[in-house]
Symmetry: C2
Subunit: 202 residues, 2 copies
Amino acid sequence: MKKKSNGQYLESSRRGEILVAAAELFRAKGYEATTIRDITTAVGIASGSTFCHFRSKREILDAVAIEGMRHVLSGAEAVVRRSLAPEECLRVLMRQHIGFLHDPPARDFVTVLLYESRALSVAAQKEVRLLMTRYEEIWKACLQGLATVPVGPVRESLLHRLLFGALNWSVHWYSPGDDPPPEVLAEELAGLVLPAMRVSAE
Amino acid sequence: MKKKSNGQYLESSRRGEILVAAAELFRAKGYEATTIRDITTAVGIASGSTFCHFRSKREILDAVAIEGMRHVLSGAEAVVRRSLAPEECLRVLMRQHIGFLHDPPARDFVTVLLYESRALSVAAQKEVRLLMTRYEEIWKACLQGLATVPVGPVRESLLHRLLFGALNWSVHWYSPGDDPPPEVLAEELAGLVLPAMRVSAE
DNA sequence: CCTACCGATCGGTAGG
DNA sequence: CCTACCGATCGGTAGG
């Protein structure tokens, strides 16, 4: 479940309801193709009422993306606190990342964050990038711990980007019915990466 | 260079000029955020003149995406004709795929194809999917040839999707100045996949 | 291929 | 939070 930092569910406030409806629509139709009227119809209020809670349509997008990125980062930070062995850490991070992409309601926020970042305000882009860097650092540390010989900085920053890509692309093809469950997906990617790390360590 | 099937350059016809300008704008701003007037200003004609060549804005998008997918497929088919050894085949396919994503002017067409497919007409979606399947078959055959024991159908169709993701995601971060050249990118991903294939074959 | 134009719809506002 | 509304801009058309 998605929470705000104050511990209340997003759905419990009108502002939160708008965010949840907007995230779902932005994911399904795209930011530009979604109108204020689409969102307010879903929530059940008049279109003008949007601007009691947000100054502009873009401000809704900014809030959705930042909320999504905070959710992702706090999940990864919880993994770090468990102090897992590197292999287990990577598996858990991957498993969780797939969940961020596919489990509602978080997936709406995260998918919008990934695929509409171009439309964010400059300030929101900066904020998201800041949180994203912290998320990436967690992955990098995990991958460093995995190699028995140190991995060069170029190769390291390339590796986590390739992994992110492999996972993030799944939003374009993954269907929960036909495709293997998240655990299998994570295991498959782990099976690809772990042998390669062992080879590079020889 | 991008060619039409009749051998003429796209830029040599007014219709082609519109396609090239539209592809560049769709890639940079997104389909919905790009206006007919953006496109015609870039080409240097009046906005109404668009409809001498296309019935609607969507028809431009359809043409851009199909042109992009045809370019990708014909490139891969040329690789197949070279009858390379599986390892070399994979490296060449990856190297070429990165080129499709990053070398102008093809990258505009291909990126739009990847990230605006939601906005395509139903007919164009079908056409693109048909060509895409043929492209995927080429990758699958190459990957099958790579394994010394047969790879299961689930694992096989997962593997090529993970590879596509790793490559396609690069449009979100790759910068030709700062990041390693396409050859290194392809080599890095090959270094990830090839050891895993060997392990799975043991 | 251009000029001139149009109906629809958009994000956003004023006043209550 | 609603009603009533507006200026701007959009994709697309008619006629030449």
